[in-house]
C-alpha cells in the first residue's frame, strides 16, 4: 500500500479494509455520529460502500459532491423547468443554468416532514441535509448531515475530509423558540454539533493547503490530548459526549500535522497537484459576488487537486440580512425582500443562481479523462422553503453534474402529489452515487429511483 512516501503516524495503525472487517470502530462511531444517542436516526450499521469501481480497468476519478444553499426560497413564479434535454425551458431564476440543461436535474415536490412542524425559518432549515427532528426551547439537536456522514466515511481518502464554507456569519440568537444556529448551518457533524463555518476565503484556502507543522506543535497536541483524556474521565456522561468534539478535533489536527492523513491508495491522478492560484487576501472581500466566487474557486481547487471531495457552501443564511448594493438593491435585506416577491427579488435570485452556474462552468472546463470534473460531480442547490412565505411543503432543488456517469441529466423530476417524496430520499441517492449505501436516512429508506 503506497503512502506517497509520507510517514505513517505510528500512533494510529491503519489496517486496509478494517472498516469492512470490523464494522464501525469506536472512533468511527464518534467521528461519524457524535453520540450513540443518534442511533435511532441511523438504526443499523450501514453496509459501507467502497471507492467507485473502475470500469474496464480504466482508472476513474471519484464522484464529488458540493451542496449550495441560500435562504428564504425563491421567486414564486420564476422557479420552474419544463421539458427535457437541450429543449428544457427554464424559469427566469434558473436562466443562468441554460448552458447546463443537459447536465441538470430539476426536482420538484420533495420536502422534509420534520421541517413543517416547528415555527418558521430556523426550524425549517436546521435539518435541510438530515431530515431530523429539531429541538426547540433553546436546545440544539438536529441530525448528522449527509455531507458529514459521507465525510466521516470517506474523509480518510483525502487530505481534508470536507469543506464547510459560508458567505454570511452565523446569527447568535434564538428566534421563535428555535436557535438561529439552525438558520446558519446546513452541515452538522453530529446531531448536536453544527459544523463551524469558514467564511474567510484565505482561511478556507489554508484549510486545504496549509500543512506546515511548526516546531513544537506535536508536543502541544500530545500534551493537550493527555489533558483531555484525564478531564474526560471526570466529566458527567452528557458532558463527556460534548467533550468528545474536542478530543476528536485534537486527534484530527494531530493527524493532519503529522502528515498521517495521507490518502488511501489512489489509482487515478488529479489534474492539479498544487493550487494554481495564490492564497486569497486576508479578510472578507468587499463585494459579495467576489466573496461567493472566491469560495466557489476554493471548492474547485479542492476538487481538482483531490484535496477534498465534499463541500457545502452556504451562500447566505436562512433569515439572511445580506443586502445587494452591487445589484442596486440595498433598500431591503434578503429576508424581508423575500416577502416582496418583486422584480428585485427575482434579480437577487438570479444573482445566486449565477454563482451556481459559475461553479458549474469552472468545473466543466476541467477535463478528467473522458469526462469533465462537472460530469464527475454533483452540485446540489436549493433552499429550505419554496418562497419567502415560509411554505416548505415542497422545496426548490436542482442538481447539476453527472456523478461520474451515474446520473443522466436534462430531466425534470416531479414528485408533487406522490406519497414518497421525502427529501431524505434524495440524500440517500446522493450517498448512493458516492458509494455509500445505508438502509435508512432521516425519514426515508429508499433512494429516488429516478435519480
Amino acid at each position: 500500500m503506497s503512502h506517497n512516501g509520507a510517514p505513517m503516524n505510528d500512533r494510529i495503525h491503519r489496517v486496509p479494509g478494517a472498516h469492512r472487517a470490523r464494522g464501525l470502530s469506536r472512533r468511527t462511531l464518534l467521528r461519524g455520529l457524535g453520540v450513540a444517542m443518534a442511533l435511532p436516526w441511523l438504526e443499523s450499521l450501514p453496509a459501507w460502500g467502497g471507492e467507485p469501481a473502475a470500469q474496464g480497468g480504466v482508472p476513474e476519478a471519484p464522484v464529488r459532491l458540493a451542496v449550495l444553499f441560500s435562504g428564504n426560497g425563491f421567486h414564486s413564479k420564476e422557479w420552474w423547468a419544463k421539458g427535457a434535454g437541450a429543449e428544457m425551458e427554464l424559469g427566469k431564476v434558473l436562466a443562468p443554468l441554460a448552458d447546463f440543461r443537459k447536465k441538470l436535474l430539476f426536482i420538484r415536490g420533495l420536502y422534509h416532514d420534520e421541517a413543517t412542524k416547528g415555527n418558521i425559518h430556523s426550524s425549517q432549515t436546521g435539518n435541510w441535509l438530515s431530515g431530523a427532528p429539531l429541538a426547540s426551547g433553546g436546545e440544539i439537536r438536529s441530525g448528522t448531515s449527509v455531507d458529514q456522514l459521507l465525510a466521516q466515511r470517506f474523509g480518510d481518502q483525502t487530505t481534508v475530509p470536507s469543506l464547510v464554507l459560508g458567505c454570511e456569519k452565523s446569527n447568535p440568537s434564538v428566534h421563535k423558540n428555535y436557535s438561529m444556529l439552525y438558520s446558519s448551518h446546513i452541515s452538522w457533524s453530529s446531531p448536536t454539533t453544527p459544523t463551524p463555518l469558514e467564511i474567510y476565503p484565505a482561511l478556507a484556502f489554508d484549510r486545504l493547503f496549509s500543512d506546515g507543522a511548526a516546531r513544537g506543535d506535536q508536543g502541544v497536541l500530545d500534551a493537550v490530548l493527555d489533558d483531555a483524556g484525564g478531564l474526560r474521565r471526570e466529566l458527567g456522561s452528557g458532558d463527556q459526549r460534548k467533550f468528545d468534539e474536542y478530543l476528536e478535533s485534537v486527534r484530527d489536527v494531530e493527524k493532519r500535522l503529522a502528515g498521517a492523513r495521507v490518502r488511501t491508495a489512489r489509482d487515478w491522478q488529479p489534474t492539479l497537484a498544487k493550487p494554481d492560484r495564490a492564497r486569497p487576501a486576508d479578510g472578507l472581500p468587499e463585494h459579495l459576488g467576489e466573496h461567493m466566487r472566491l469560495m466557489c474557486d476554493i471548492v474547485v481547487l479542492g476538487f481538482q487537486t483531490d484535496t477534498t471531495r465534499l463541500a457545502t457552501l452556504k451562500l447566505n443564511n436562512d433569515h439572511s440580512s445580506q443586502r445587494y448594493p452591487d445589484l442596486g438593491v440595498d433598500y431591503m435585506i434578503h429576508h424581508l425582500l423575500s416577502h416582496s416577491d418583486s422584480a428585485d427579488w427575482l434579480k437577487v435570485n438570479v444573482f445566486f443562481l449565477e454563482q451556481l452556474a459559475y461553479l458549474a462552468r469552472r468545473l466543466d472546463a476541467i477535463q478528467e479523462g473522458p469526462r469533465t470534473l462537472l460530469d464527475n460531480s454533483m452540485l446540489v442547490y436549493g433552499s429550505s422553503m419554496m418562497t419567502g412565505q415560509h411554505n416548505n411543503d415542497q422545496l426548490p432543488m436542482v442538481l447539476v453534474g453527472g456523478a461520474g456517469g451515474r446520473i443522466a441529466g436534462g430531466r425534470v423530476l416531479d414528485y408533487t402529489g406522490k406519497p414518497a417524496r421525502q427529501m431524505c430520499r434524495l440524500h440517500l441517492s446522493l450517498m448512493d452515487k458516492m458509494g455509500l449505501k445505508v438502509p435508512r436516512f432521516g425519514d426515508a429508506d429508499q433512494p429516488l429511483a429516478e435519480v
Partner: protein, 1361 residues
Amino acid sequence: MRARRLLVAALFACAATVSSAESAAPLAAVTPILKDRCLTCHSQAKHKGDLDLESVVADGRLARHARIWQKVLEQVADGDMPPAGKPQSTAEERSRLLAGVRGALDVVARQTAGDPGPVVLRRLSNAEYTYTLRDLTGVESLDVAREFPADGAAGEGFSNTGMALAMSPALLGKYLDAAKAVAAHALLLPDGIGFSAATTRRDATDELVAQLRAFYAGFSATGSSDMVTRQGIPMDKNQGGRLPLERYLAAANELRAGGDAAAVARAHGLNPRYLANLIASLAGGPPSELLDGLRARWRAGDAAGLADAVAQWQRALFRFNSVGDIGVTGGATAWMEPVSPLVAEQELKLAFPADHTSGEATAYLSALATVPGAPAGLVVWRQPRLVIPGRPPLPLRVARAYVDDLLARRVRTFAGTAAALAAAVDAAGDAHGDVAQLAQRHHIDPGVLAAWLGYLGVGFAGDLALEHFDNRLPRAGAYEFVTGWGSTETPSVMANASDQAVRIPGKMKAHGVVVHPSPTRCVAVGWQSPVTATLRIAGAVMHAHPECGNGVEWVLELRRGSARRRLAAGTAINADSVPFGPLDGVTVQPGDLIALLVGPRNADHSCDLTDVELTLTGDGPNPVTWSLTREVSGDILAGNPHADAAGHPAVWHFYSEPTAVMSEHPGAPADSLLARWQATADPATQARLADDLQRLLLAPAPAGDGADAKLYRQLASFAGPLAAATTPAVPAADSPWGLDPALFGKRPDGAACDADDLCVAIGTILAVRLPAGLVAGCELVATAACAPGPAAAEASAQARLAATAPAAAGLLPDPTLPIIAGAAAQARWTSAYADFRALFPAALCYTKIVPADEVITLTLFYREDGPLVTLMLDDAQRVQLDRLWDRLRFVSQDALTTVDAFEQILQYATQDGDPRKLEPLRQPITARAAALRQRLLDAEPVQLDATLAFAAQAWRRPLTADEQQALRARYGTWRTEGLHHDEALRLVLTRVLAAPAFLYRAERPVPGAAQGPVGDWELATRLSYFLWSGPPDAALRAAAASGALRDPAALAAQARRLLGDARARRLAVEFGCSWLHVRGFDQLDEKSEKAFPAFLALRGSMYEESIRFLADLFQSDRSVLSLLDADHTFVDKALAAHYGIPWSADGPEWRRVEGLRALGRGGILGQAAILAKQSGASRTSPILRGAWVSETLLGERLPRPPKDVPPFPEQADAALSVRALTERHVSDARCAGCHQRFDAFGFALEGFDGIGHAQDRDPGGKPLDITATTADGTRLAGLDGLRAYLAGPRAAAFTGQFCRKLLGFALGRAVRLSDEPLLHEMQSALAANGWRAGTAVELIVRSRQFREIRGRGAVSEDDEP
C-alpha cells in the same frame, strides 16, 4: 412511529422524580374537560399536531410531561386551542382547565425547585475567550478570535450556552494558532512574565519606553527646545521633562498667606512633596543672594515677575548637552549640566554692522553692580581695541587720532580716484614698473596710488600673506604612505603616495590629494605662478566620504596682491566628482596665485574629506602642464610651499583661511561703476566711468543695496582696501570720536595701569562714538575684570559692551553676561546658584529616553531623572520607576546590542570622531553585557515558575502537582530538543492556552444521584463568567481558595463587588445587548446607504449608548423598570445631534444626559440602536418593532405565521404610509389574529424613522398616526403611551422576562419549570427593593441552581434525549 416517540422524548422536562399522586391531583379534576375539548384530536389514534395527549394523560406522571403541559397551558391561555372551527370551551371550562394544569405544574415546580438542571459543558464563547485573554494578559488590543466562526445561541438566546458552542478540527486549528499568537505577546521579564501589545522585542521595547514616558509625563511638562544640527540633520537635544514652573508658582501664589499645600496640590494636580518644599523655601531659609530676590517677589505677590525671574535664572544656570556625547573622552557628563556664570574676567565684543555706513555708531562700556548697594570696587577694561578684518587691531586709545587721520586721508584718496584709475590703465601688464614714477606721472600721491593698484590687482604684485600649514602629518589614517600637513584634527591636507586606494575612512584614490576643512577654516591648495602666461585651468572636487556628512563648498580664485578674483565655485555633496573648467585665457604674472579652497557647508565639517585635483596648462608652442596630484602626491612632506616638477621653488602652497572668505565675494560688486570700468577696454568709457566713480565717492554715502552703494561701503570702511595702515597724528582736541587718550593708563585713584587699559569705578558707563561708515564690519573687543585692589575680593559686577545704553542697574540673569567677581564674592554666588538649582531644576527628567541628538551614539536609552526622584517621588513611585527601567533594560537587552554597536562604531569612526575618544566606554559596555547575560540565565527558572502561575490563572484553578510536573517536564523536553528558553516557554504558554482546562468551563458532577455544591473554583468561575464574561480576579480567587464562597452571603457580596467593576460592562453587552437583539450593532450592515447615508458613521455611537445605558443599570444598581422609563441616557456629540440634544464643546466625549423624556425619548424604546435594529433597510417596520416588544420585552410567544401570506411591498409606496401599508397587509383574516397582538406597539413607535431619528411625517410626506389600540383594549399614543403601558399594566410581564433571561444567561441553559419558584422569588424581591437590578443578580447567585450541580448518578434520560 419512531419519529413520534422521539418528539415526545424531546419534550421531557424534569429530572427529579415527583410523586405522581400529588401532582396529578389538580389535574384529575379537569380530566373531563380535557377529554371533551382536547383528546378528540390529540388522541392516540389521531395525535393531531404530533401530540398524543391521551397517552400523556393516561401515563399520569406529570413531571415527565411537564413541557407538554406547559405548552397546553400556553395555547389554551392564548386562545389558540381549541382551534377555530372546533367546539369551543366555555369561559368557565377554560379557567378551570387552566387552573387545574397550572396547579399541577406548580406542584411539580415546587417539588423540583432548585434543580441545577442539565447544563451542557461550555466552551468559552468567542466573546468570553477574548475577554479572558485580555484579563489574563492585560493587553486590551488582543483580538485573536477575530476570524473564528461566529458562535450560535441556545438556551434563553445567549451564546454562553454549551449546546451552541461546537468544536471542530478547523476550529481547534484556529485555537492552536490563536494560542501561539498570544504566546508571541509574552514578555520575558526579570521577575517573571508579562504580556505586551507587541510581538517583537523592538515593539515591546517601544511599549516600555512609552510607559516610562507616560510616567515622566505625569510630573513634567513638555516645552523648551534646543535644536542642534549634526551633519545637516536638525535634532533637538533639549526637549520635554520640564519642571512645570508656572503651575507650581501659581499654586505658590495661592499659598502666600498660608493654607494647606497638600490640598492645593491635589486641586491642581501638582506634586504635593514639591509644592510643600517650594513653599518652605520661598517662605524662609538661610539668606541667599539669589533666592532673596525671588522671595521678595513672592511676598509682594508679583507672580508673573517671579516666574519670569526663575525662568531666566534657569536659562543662566543650566546647560543641556547632547546625550549622545556622554561618556566619550571630552564628552559631557550629563544631559543637564550646571553652568556658573561667574568668572574672574571676561572678554566682550561688539560688532558694528557692515551695512551701517552713515552717521555714527556708539558703543557703551558698562560695568554695573550686581546687588544694589554692594561694596564699591573697580573694573578694568583691558586692551579695548577695534578689530578690523585683514588689519592689525587698533587700540581704542589711539582710535580718536586714527579716525581723524583717516577721515582726512579718505577724502584725498577719493579725490584721486580718476587719476589713480588712469594710472592703473597705464600700469596694466607692467610687472616691473615703479609706483613712484607712475604716481608722479599722474600727479597723485604714491601711497594713494599703491592702495588703488593693490585693490584693482593691477600691475605690481603685493605680498600674499598665506597662513601655511606648518605641522607635518607623517602617518595619516594608519597608512605609512598617507602623509600631509595640518592639524591631527582638522583642517588638513593629505596625499596618498601609493598605487593603492584606501579608506581613512573616507576614500583616498591612489596618488590622490585630499583636504579636510574644520568648522571654521577652509583648506586651500594654491599654485603660485613662476611664469607669465595665459592659462587653461581644469580640475575636480569630489566628496570622498559621501556616506555621511553634508558635503563641502569650494571656490577657485585668482589672487594678486590684495585682490581676489573668483573663477569658479560650487558644492560637492554626493559621491559624484564635480569637475570645473577647463577655464581658458586666465592671464597670470609671476607671483599670482591660483587657489582652490574647500570649506565645510553650514559649519558642519563631519565626513568632509574631499578629493581635489588642479591642473594648469600654459600657452605657447610647448605648453607646460602643472598637476597637483602628479607633482605633490608622492612627496607632499617635501615642503610647504612645495616645488613644482620643473624645480621652481614654492609653487604649491597648502594653507588655510577663515571660512568667511568663502562667503564673501571680493572685488567690485557686479554692475557697479568700478566693475563696469574693469569690464571695458574703451579708453573714453573708462575715463567717463572713472569720473563718475570719483563723484560717487566724494558725495555723501549712498543708501540702499544698490551696486554702487555696496561699492561705496567697501571702499569707505576701515576694513576697506584703500585704508592702508598709517601712523596717526595727535588727534584734534575737539574731536568727537573715540575716547580721550588721557582716560587710559591710569586708575580713578590716580595709580597707573597698563597704557592701553581703561580702569573705572563699578557703576561707570562709557560711551564711545565712531563714524559708522568707517567701523562698518569691524568689532570692538575688550576684556573686563575686577581691578586688583583692597576691595577686589568682595567686588562683583556685570560688564556689558553694547550698542545701546544699559537700563537701570540690576542683575541680568543672562548666561552670556557672566558676573565678574572677586574670590569672596564668587563663593557667595556659587552657593546661591546651588540653592537655586536644587529648588528650580530646569528639567526634572530626560523624557526622550531614546537620545536622538547625535548622528552616532552608543546610548540606546538614557536615564537622567535625579531631580524628579529627589524632589517629587515617594518610595513606591521610586520603586515603580526603577522597575520600569529595569524591565526596559532587560527586555531591550540594550547591554548586549551595545557590544556590537561599539565594535561597529569603532570601525566607522569618522574624521570628526577619533575612535580613541570612545575607549572609555569599552570596559563599562563589556561589564554591563556580562551582567545582563547572567541575569537572563538567572531569570529562566523564575519565568518558568511564572508561566506555571499563569497556567493556574488560565485554568481558573490551582494546578495539581502532576500538572505542574508535566508542564515542567514538557518545557524540559523542548529544551532538550534544542529549543531556546524563549521558544520553549512560549510553547508551554501555547500548550496552556490550547488545553481543555482553558477552553472549557468543565465542572465535575458531585458523586451520587443528588445534586450538591459545585467546587469552589468552579463556583468562582460561574460567578465571574456570569458578571464579567471573564475569569475570576485575584480577590475572587482568594475567596475561592479560602472556601469563603460556600457561604451564600459571601458569594452575594462578591457578586455586588463584581457588578460595581468596569468589567460589568460585559454583562451589558453579553446579556443586555443579546437579550435586546442589539449585540454587535456596531457591525450592523443592514441599512440602505441611499436611504440612511448617516447610519454607518452613527452605528458605533448608537451601540455604545445602549451598552453604557445597560452597564449603568448594573453598575449603579438601578431599577429594572428604568430600562423602560429612564429619563437619562449616554450620548456623544454625533448621537446628541441625532437626538437633537444641545452639545457644548467642552466636556468629555461621552456624557450622561438627563431630560430624555421631555425630548420624546427615554429608556430603551427611544434608543436608536433598538429602533434601527427593528426596522427595515430603508424604512420602519411596525411589525418588527411590535413583535420585538411582544416577544423580547414581554416574553410572549407568537404562533407560526400562516403559509402563503401575501407578499409585502417593501419600498414605501407613494400613495400609502408605512402604517397604512402594514394595516392593509395584515387585514387578511389569517394574519389579523396575531398581528393585533403586537402591531399596536410598532405603530406607537412610528415617530422614529428606520435609524431612530424623530420624524413627524412618513417618508412619503404624510402625517404620522402614532396612536393605536392594543389587544387588551388600551389606547396608546406614541412612545410615551407605550412606555406607560409597559411599565404600568405590563410591568410584571416585563420584569418577569428580565428575570427569566438573566437567569438563563447566568445558568447557561433554558429556564425550566423547576426554576419557576426562583423566578417568583426574584419578582417579589425586586418589588420589595425598588426593582434594583442587583437584587435579581443576588438572588440568582444565592440560588441552588447557581451554586450546585447535579450528581453524577442523576437520572438524565428526560434531559438529554
